[in-house]
Amino acid sequence: MNKHNDNPYANPPERARVIKRHGLFTRVWHWVNLVCLVILLMSGLQIFNAHPSLYWGNDSSFDAPALQITAMRGDDGAPMGVVRIGGYRINTTGVLGLSRDDGELDARAFPAWATLPGPQWLAMGRYWHFAAAWVFAPLLLAYLVYTLISPARRRLVWPTAAQWRGLPATIAHHARLKFDHSADYNGLQKLTYLLVLFGLLPLMVLTGLTMSPTMNAAWPWLLDVFGGRQSARTLHFIFAFLLVAFFVIHLGLVLISGVFNNLRSMITGRYRLGDDAPADKDNRHA
């Protein structure tokens, strides 16, 4: 955003170099995916609220959950919201365990503003969740196949040898909030997208399927991979919040590394290179 000129026509073409960074499939997938993930997260929190405890293993050890979000009476008798993790107890009144909905105090794990639908409504939360999953999962599969078979896409997410070696320097560079505007992603970016695309997102689908009793009968190996249905439920929850963390960092970096240029590249596909970015053909990806 710092390098944009008010009048783009004032520059000779070689100084206003704009490339086509993202193809149509990538752009459509990105935004459809965003809608799906928001629905999946919020309806997922609605489903979680029906039994706001997490366990490890095949079944639920009701008296010793790994994590529990609940409401209780404090020492002064006033209701409070708490998160229990192992032996620790954190007061989360107002957000987790106990929150206000239309001014009324409500004992619920995640607050109404974070769930879909807002009121406690498990059946509807499940409908939203599975409907969004039916859009999300097939599109994800198609997109992963596309990323693997398209040479340009593959180059855009797989770090070069130099990028692997330069990872520590790239991390240091990012820590000082310095960003290049070159056609290629940097090593850290590529590694992050790789982990999210081929790690977190498929794991969300697989841990989700592991919670289905019919899928357990069809593909029993799911239970072995994730250590049981309740482990899979806990992992599903952890991976969901790793995705939220990715989203926050992703959004932050999009905002501070040239928000207009970044947004445009994901809407029209066009991305403006920095003045100092190398322009050789190998460094660009259609």
């Binding site: 490339i19 079944d59 499940r126 019919t214 259609a286």
Partner: protein, 261 residues
Amino acid sequence: MRDSKLILPDPKRRRLITGLGALGASAALTGCDSLSRNDRVQDLLGATDRLTRAAQRLVSSRESLAREFGERDIAPTMRANGSTDPSNDDYKRHAANGFADWRLRIDGLVRQPADFSIDDLKAMPSRTQITRHDCVEGWSCIAKWTGAVLGEVLDRVRPTSAARYVVFHCADNIYGGPVKYYESIDMVEAYHPQTLLAYGLNDDRLPIANGAPLRLRAERQLGYKMAKYVMRIELVDSFASIQGGNGGYWEDRGYEWWAGI
């Protein structure tokens, strides 16, 4: 893939993008709850129920078994959910004399409607299995179930070729409400080798809290399908005329008929 092109930024396009972004954000923030109450949206979302059912039938064979566990995996107590002590007089009378006069009625689209006592059922081919019970709320509990194989029981009454669903009519008015609990499964699930009419839990008689004298075990489905306090089994070609018409107590209250996920 096309070669990269050098193009100039277009100020008009920039305004369009900003405008579209704002429009999308405001649409997303309003009306998800009103969408949830819209009949058309509910129908659309409900279509995924049938999609899930078709997909799961595709990847799981008729015979694919739910996982069975070992003795040491059995939970200290099998959590009882929904009704745990039906309060109507008829049920209480049966409970008081140990279900000695209780009979399971099987009728509907069958050639030989019949009544079965608990001893009749115990004399039929049985199965004992240690399986995981999954509640729609999210929890799981492992227990050992013993019961008559439903497919074998159905063979005694000889379903007609028109029979498509097995409906379980129960004794309990869940949460003290005006209607009795009921559930339904299709013939594929009914003839699955692990589908039982269970009368035993953890080597003991099935307790009242868990559905005495008889409850359904359909191990590839969620807990709400597994009707407790079963009094009558009816074979039908459609459940449209039974109670709310959706095939079960919870289905009439918005839950999916296909409870495989």
